[in-house]
């Protein structure tokens, strides 16, 4: 019996190795004869490099080589990829300003932690010791770190070539219509908010093991990535300037990525260059301090928006003005995140006749910003859900009624929200009603009155989020029946960062081919196996990879039928595949003449174009899916101290058909906690004067811990997506999209009792106390 089907909380197949210390993370790989690389990083946020003296470092024990930017330039290495910049056209039609980032800085450093030199030694300890001996003369330059200040034309320009700190001025939507809606509105709700910068902090630091095979003139890179193919192409095309086939990228277990591990960081071409030059493998592993200073960071927007309403509280239009901080350099997708990633998601789940989104992206002396779980969508959702709450209070309709009035109703699905959001399904009222019931909303005022007696402010916050998950690219898969081992090998172009891909692919193939879990072996990322792959990112894997696996399994069955037809002496048209009820056989329709899948594979040799029974699949048909849901948060605040506590958290989501409820619950919980982390304490603080990251370690940067959080009540309604064959909606980022506004709206609901109308993320006891007491912060 196949007990591994779709729709069950099947326990994960990857757990066995991970709970017994058998995970294979990037730093676990060692190559014989490898040398270690340590990167020398800038202590200054902005400075000219006057000279680099590597002599003492080269003379230190164990040192093999010291690389500088000048050498790499002379060797013809290209830039670090910032591919997305080319996608951005400014409002006046001109291209965006494109930063040039060398693998190692040549004459200028632009953020504290910018890579300047690489010391390669026999051991990591020797490399670290020698790194301290690289002598660099700097001339310090003025620093800009703050998002709004960077946009001020009087700030020093980080990139003189650009003339200012503006990387681009971009707009999308019908500006005239949005302005007219505001001009003719009965009421306009205005809001200014900060979407605070996040340090991603996957628990596994980045690492890279570079190898070079001289005979074949081929490079191999072991790296924790979110997609081996994308990384291969960026490194090969943009930096090493080689054909992508000359580079093999391998990723096995990844200790969390959250967007950040997608990108082609400078250290990756660096270990490859060094491996070729030195004729031996070169290994680099970041320590946490380097993660803080070199992993892309997330968010960092300042937004002003106006929401126009008619007399009944219906939305007429939205006008959005955002300043997005891209950091010192445009990262690979950095330019894409505040612009094309959210597209028009600022309209949320509401009918919005006119929307205009104006984004000015600025460059600052901070770590580059790129995708972080949700990538543009959480920012969009946070904005509209804050606006709706504020509008609810200003109009007297309240946060629930104003949302209901503007919801796109279930009976109007599919609904084409112009200009670019074709919703396929959704029942927003149903999820909202369920969430309100679970939150015991009826009794909220009573709870609030009781808390008031204790001097506590109780607030209830609502968010109705929607997310658009990714589509529009090809995904690839391959199946190979291994007749020797009686297993089917599964390869997909997506790869796990811990979400549970292996289990879900196993479930899917199990249900398609009628195999037991132990007959299915899911392989991790290897750019040599598939022609391409879309990687993990954008909550799309569940429908893109199963789509490709579906094509591959159909093809596999068709190939198998031909062999089976020969073996069973029947016409191909009379062969069916029976992959259920414990069977995995080809059979002649209407008879008990059958042949086992693995037997067919054994016969495959000589009958098919390849030695074994195998099949590839490519899939690109799926459209975007729109996971959505109601999150309700209740927060209690101590008026005197600013201490707060989340006293209840309810999420009722719609992920369409759910393949594995347990894995979805894990995604929701983790997502909510990352969203709450941003909202309730993750503070990325750069010193305004020096540009130093003041919160550059776990001693300074808070992330949620086990005792910081309440119990979450999560559930879902399955409203199938119509944009993919399984009817699923991606669940990977949803929690992170919903949580920040649910929490902040709850905080503001409480603060309103004390006359406070605005507060920004991250909310901390200190920030609440300042808001409640209007206290001026004195210089420390």
């Amino acid at each position: 019996m196949v007990k591994f089907g779709v729709g069950q909380s099947v326990r994960r197949v990857e757990d066995d190795r991970l709970i017994t210390g058998g995970g294979r993370y990037a730093d676990d790989f060692r190559a014989p004869g490898q040398a270690y690389m340590v990167v020398v990083r800038s202590p200054y946020a902005h400075a000219k490099i006057l000279s680099i003296d590597t002599e003492s470092a080269r003379a230190a024990p164990g040192v093999v080589d010291v690389l500088t930017g000048q050498e790499l330039q002379e060797a013809g290495l290209g830039e670090v990829s910032n591919a997305a910049v080319a996608l951005i056209k400014q409002r006046d039609g001109s291209p965006a300003f494109k930063t040039t980032r060398h693998v190692l800085a040549v004459d200028r450093v632009r953020h504290a932690g910018d890579a300047i030199a690489a010391v390669i030694a026999e051991s990591e300890a020797e490399a670290r010791d020698a790194a301290e001996l690289v002598m660099i003369d700097f001339e310090e330059l003025p620093v800009v770190v703050d998002t709004e200040k960077a946009a001020d034309p009087s700030s020093p320009a980080i990139w003189e070539e650009a003339g200012s700190n503006l990387a681009y001025d971009w707009g999308k939507g019908d500006e005239e219509a949005a302005r007219a809606a505001i001009a003719n509105a009965h009421h306009v709700t205005k809001l200014k908010l900060i979407n605070n910068r996040i340090v991603v902090n996957a628990m596994e630091p980045r690492a890279a093991l570079g190898m070079y095979d001289k005979e074949q003139d081929r490079y191999t890179l072991h790296v924790p990535s979110q997609g081996v193919h994308g990384l291969r192409d960026r490194i090969a095309n943009d930096t090493l300037k080689i054909a992508p086939e000359k580079l093999r990228v391998i990723t096995e277990d990844v200790g969390g990525g959250f967007g950040m591990k997608t990108f082609a960081y400078p250290e990756y071409p660096l270990v490859l260059y060094a491996a070729k030059k030195l004729g031996r493998p070169v290994k680099w592993t970041a320590d946490r301090a380097e993660s803080f200073l070199s992993d892309t960071q997330g968010r960092d927007h300042v937004t002003e928006a106006q929401l126009a309403l008619d007399a009944e509280g219906h939305i007429l239009g939205i006008y959005i003005d955002t300043i997005a901080n891209l950091g010192a350099y445009q990262s690979q997708f950095g330019a894409f995140i505040p612009t094309l990633a959210p597209r028009d998601m600022q309209a949320g789940v509401y009918k919005v006749p006119a929307i205009y989104n104006h984004v000015r992206a600025v460059l600052t002396n901070t770590v580059p910003v790129d995708a972080y779980r949700g990538a543009g969508r959480p920012e969009a959702s946070y904005l509209i859900e804050r606006l709706m709450d504020k509008a609810g209070y200003e109009t007297g309709l309240g946060p629930i009624e104003i949302r209901r009035r503007n919801f796109i109703p279930a009976e109007e699905m599919p609904y084409n929200q112009k200009p670019s959001l074709p919703f396929d399904s959704g029942d927003f009222n149903r999820n909202l009603n369920d969430a309100l019931a679970k939150a015991d909303y009826e009794a909220f005022e009573k709870r609030r009155a009781e808390k008031a007696k204790e001097g506590k402010l109780l607030g209830l916050g609502l968010c109705y989020y929607v997310e658009r998950t990714a589509a529009g690219m090809s995904e690839f898969a391959q199946l190979a029946v291994d007749a020797e081992a009686n297993v089917v090998h599964v390869y997909t172009g997506s790869q796990t960062n811990g979400q549970g891909h292996e289990t879900v692919w196993t479930q899917f193939i199990s249900s398609r081919l009628g195999l037991d879990a132990d007959q299915i072996v899911v392989h991790s990322g290897d750019s040599d196996v598939l022609p391409g792959g879309a990687g993990t990112g954008g909550s799309k894997a569940v429908y893109m990879s199963t789509g490709a696996l579906g094509v591959a399994s159909d093809t596999l069955i068709e190939k198998g039928k031909q062999i089976a037809a020969n073996e069973l002496e029947a016409a191909v048209a009379d062969i069916e595949y029976r992959g259920a009820d414990g069977e995995a056989v080809f059979a002649v329709v209407g008879t008990d003449k059958r042949i086992d899948l693995f037997e067919v594979a054994r016969k495959a040799e000589g009958q098919t174009d390849s030695a074994a029974l195998e099949a590839a699949g490519e899939y690109k048909e799926a459209g975007n899916s729109y996971p959505n849901g109601a999150h309700i948060c209740e927060v209690e605040i101590d008026r005197d101290t600013g201490d707060f506590e989340i006293t209840r958290y309810i999420a009722v989501d719609d992920f369409g058909h759910v393949i594995n409820p347990m894995i979805v619950a894990g995604q929701v919980h983790g997502g909510i906690v990352q969203g709450l982390g941003q909202a309730m304490g993750e503070r990325t603080v750069y010193d305004e004067e020096s540009g130093q990251l003041l919160t550059g370690s776990f001693q300074d940067y808070w992330m949620p811990r086990a005792d910081d959080l309440p119990f979450f009540d999560t559930s879902y309604n399955e409203i199938p997506s119509k944009s993919n064959q399984l009817g699923v909606k991606g669940a990977g980022e949803a929690g992170t999209v919903g949580a920040p506004s649910a929490f902040i709206n709850a905080v503001l609901d409480a603060l309103r009792l004390a006359g406070v109308e605005n507060i920004d993320m991250p909310v901390t006891p200190y920030s609440l106390w300042k808001a409640l007491h209007g206290a001026e912060e004195k210089a420390a």
């Binding site: 326990r11 996957a202 200790g255 906690v673």
Partner: protein
């Protein structure tokens, strides 16, 4: 005063001898010298707990101890919790049942921290578990499933408290 030391560790039941520099941390000796890859390095400030192992039965952060200090000690990592025939320890089984891990990077440390808790407090309540795990960061799970798993292993998971519906069956 020595600038190199011969040490002996019993790691998951196997006696290991190696030579280390005094500055080598226990985690580095385990990973680099002995090829023990279960405990991970997640930070250098002793705040993440990814490197937690049991030293003579007690959970410590192996990046907060010199290898030299552990000379002669019995070290248990996540790999050593399972029985020799591969049967998972009930706590490991509970992590599996309750989906208490995603990327798995923090998991070996979490398991060791939870082992220590269950040794000193065999019947913890939810708050006990949350306090006991406050030295271990996890970026994936949101902790609730981890807490459920530990409570379940202790037999103190209340009915209806499970985040994974039906997970306790």
């Amino acid at each position: 005063m020595k600038s190199e030391l011969d040490i002996m560790l019993t790691v998951d039941g196997a006696e290991e001898r190696t030579t280390v520099e005094p500055r080598m941390l226990l985690i580095q000796a385990l990973r680099e010298k002995l090829g023990v890859k279960g405990p991970h390095i997640g930070c250098e400030s002793g705040r993440c707990g990814a490197c937690t192992v049991l030293v003579n039965g007690e959970a410590v952060k192996s990046c907060m101890m010199l290898a030299a200090q552990a000379d002669g000690a019995k070290i248990t990592t996540a790999a050593g919790l399972a029985a020799e025939d591969g049967t998972l320890h009930p706590l490991q089984q509970a992590f599996h049942e309750h989906h208490a891990l995603q990327c798995g990077y923090c998991t070996p440390g979490m398991l060791c921290a939870a082992m220590d808790l269950l040794k000193t407090n065999p019947k913890p309540n939810e708050n006990d578990v949350r306090q006991a795990l406050r030295g271990n960061l996890c970026r994936c799970t949101g902790y609730q499933h981890i807490v459920d798993a530990v409570l379940s292993a202790a037999g103190t998971l209340g009915s209806g408290a499970s985040a994974v519906k039906g997970a306790a069956e």
